[in-house]
């Protein structure tokens, strides 16, 4: 492990070769095998910096390979050097649109190891914020999906209505994107005065936003032609690749951890539908996410209706030491399943944290999925898989 050692000639040679390979990909336009198309790293469809190298035969993709790492920040190494309360600040940045939802599985894993359970009110507040994070995330997705096929209008509607959600999240947590609000044993603060009524009003607005989008975007003939029957993922293969969230449910797998997993969070007190679709194509994935916004609005309204009174923090020591052990907690996050495998040695900080992010597994199917599709469909397929680069690269 010589990090600071001088590179040998051999290393230099391999580095030059790697660079040459990269360069060749950029300039090699027409060969006998076909043309190389380089998409990204900066492309609106990539939600960050993702590069896709596709080998084309005419308009058809022979193979495509995503090239990642432009945003790798090494969170699994960084959290080993931090104390438990410091970790939430970091993990907020993994899936930046999911904000609060990133913190939840980690905190739950710590609570499981410490055998602490947050009070009921805290669980309700967590779940409400988790769902609002999901809605803000998916509303953004719906607007963005319009942009992928060249329709700008849905984006403006989405941005307008997402603002209501972000304002509500901000007025509780103080942060629009990185709340850092979840604590081991509860949440940082109680809800501000008048927040519950205002949020309920906004949930009604979100339901009407879904109606609007259903007409404007999903009802559009162009949109349907661009997405129906495109990028079909079979249910069996989706499982083997570890796809989760709406991508899996759009392939007909009826699996939602909010309903199926016994979690301390308050989902069990709400009555909601798990949305599935049988088609497994791009349209099904968009449709599922749209309906999920509706269901989330229902969950939030129900939970706010019977929000219990009481404390928002359990009794936890001031200096948090997590007993030795291992815990894996996974929750249904906006992009799919996000889990933290926390290994503790009884210290102030974790020994090792494996972060299982949804986008990483969701994206790993792209080399299979993009084979044989036409070039314009690359963008709609990637858009409908919906990933956040920070969630892939960690």
């Amino acid at each position: 492990m010589t990090v600071t050692a001088e590179p040998t000639d051999e290393d230099k040679a391999s580095y030059v070769a790697a660079k040459a390979a990269d360069a060749r990909v950029n300039v090699e336009l027409e060969t006998e095998e076909g043309m190389t198309l380089n998409i990204g790293p900066q492309h609106p469809a990539t939600h960050g910096t993702l590069r896709i190298v596709a080998k084309l035969d005419g308009e058809q993709v022979l193979w495509a390979e995503p090239i990642m790492g432009y945003m790798h920040r090494g969170y699994e190494k960084l959290v080993e050097m931090r104390t438990y309360p410091q970790v939430t600040t970091l993990v907020n940045r993994i899936d930046w649109l999911g904000s609060f939802a990133n913190e939840v599985p980690f905190i739950l894993a710590c609570e499981q190891l410490m055998e602490v359970e947050a009070p009921e009110r805290a669980q309700y507040i967590r779940t409400v914020l988790h769902e609002m994070g999901r809605m803000a995330h998916l509303v953004m997705f719906l607007g963005d999906m319009g942009v992928q096929i060249g329709a700008l209008t849905p984006m403006f509607y989405a941005m307008r209505d997402r603002e209501f959600l972000l304002n509500q999240i901000e007025s509780v947590t103080g942060g629009r994107f990185h709340p850092n609000f979840d604590r081991i044993g509860g949440v940082k603060d109680d809800l501000p005065a008048g927040w519950v009524d205002e949020t309920k009003r906004i949930m009604k607005k979100m339901a009407s936003f879904c109606d609007e989008m259903e007409d404007l975007l999903l009802g559009s003939e162009i949109f349907q032609q661009r997405t129906r029957g495109i990028g079909i993922i079979p249910a069996e293969l989706a499982q083997l690749y570890g796809l989760s969230g709406a991508n899996l449910r759009a392939s007909g797998v009826d699996w939602d951890l909010r309903r199926d997993l016994d979690s301390p969070m308050a989902w069990k007190h709400a009555d909601f539908k798990v949305i599935t679709h049988v088609d497994g194509d791009s349209f099904a994935r968009v449709w599922c996410r749209l309906q999920e916004v509706r269901e989330s609005a229902k969950i939030v309204t129900q939970l706010l209706d019977d929000l219990p009174a009481g404390p928002i923090m359990a009794k936890v020591p001031r200096i948090i030491k997590v007993p030795a052990g291992e815990a894996y907690v996974v929750t249904e996050n906006p992009l799919g399943q996000m889990g933290y495998y926390v290994i503790s040695k009884g210290d102030l900080g974790p020994f090792r944290v494996k972060i299982r992010t949804a986008s990483f597994s969701n994206m790993s199917i792209t080399p299979w999925l993009l084979r044989g599709v036409y070039v314009p469909d690359i963008v709609t397929i990637l858009g409908s898989l919906y990933f956040i680069l920070g969630d892939i690269d960690r």
């Binding site: 990090v3 069996e236 570890g242 102030l348």
Partner: protein, 243 residues
């Protein structure tokens, strides 16, 4: 040999918790691939941990997938159980209660649930969606503790195609070679990156104390100046009435 350890055998004075669902799950798995299971552990109400022989890594996964329906591939990764020789951070000694490890005394290597006796452990988690989404964490020791440079394991890519990127990540971060992987290249890191960053003996340079490269304190600090001028250090420390 099958050693089964569960929570009640380990901590008899705790409230006896049994997890019948996971006991049944374990019984089902040991019936199928019992000869490969080295050790198991049940965290009641939470998780089932298995440790299997590494030479049957692929076949166990294949049988769990085909015969028991563990079709959902959650993740694959590696644990480096070696205590970090660098401690927690630059100010590790100041953190109250942290068991500070220094380079001289890295502490004992101690594996987690389901035991183990090697530095690197491979682990995956599989889920059976249609059996109440029950999951299982499968671990395997992948090296003899004496030779840690080139840990090897079978690639799962034929069983779970989703293991592709997970194995590439484990390869670059821990230096584990997966035999049978068709394209074992760096996933995140640049091609010529040296070292395996998630190994415990790879320092996180941003958190190491680096000496200032230039000359430190060309002139003495003003306080030092005063105290050297005054010979009586006691008066100098109180200081206020003199100036």
């Amino acid at each position: 040999m099958i050693r089964l350890s569960s929570a009640d055998t380990e901590a008899p004075d705790e409230a006896i918790e049994t997890d019948e669902r996971r006991e049944a799950q374990l019984a089902e798995i040991t019936e199928l691939v019992g000869d490969a299971v080295v050790e198991s552990h049940i965290d009641p109400g939470h998780e089932l941990y298995l440790r299997i022989a590494v030479d049957q890594w692929k076949s166990v996964h294949r049988r769990l997938r085909d015969d028991l329906g563990y079709k959902f591939f959650e993740f694959l990764s590696v644990i480096d159980w070696m205590p970090s020789p660098y401690g927690k951070s630059e100010d590790a000694t100041a953190d109250a209660g942290v068991s500070v490890t220094t380079i001289d005394d890295p502490g004992e290597m101690e594996q987690g649930y389901a035991g183990g006796d090697s530095r690197f452990q491979l682990f995956t988690r599989l889920v059976d969606i249609f059996a109440g989404s029950q999951g299982v964490v499968i671990k395997a020791d992948i090296t003899d503790p004496r030779d840690t440079d080139e840990p090897q394991a079978q690639s799962l890519i034929e069983v779970f195609p989703g293991a592709n990127w997970h194995e590439r990540e484990a390869f670059e971060m821990f230096g584990v070679r997966f035999t049978g992987h068709p394209y074992l290249q760096h996933l995140y890191l640049p091609g010529a990156f040296e070292g395996n960053p998630l190994r415990k003996d790879y320092p996180l340079l941003a958190r190491q104390v680096k000496p200032w490269p230039g000359i430190v304190d060309v002139e003495p600090m003003p306080e030092d100046d005063d105290s050297t001028d005054d010979d009586s250090t006691d008066d100098g420390a109180e200081g206020g009435d003199e100036s």
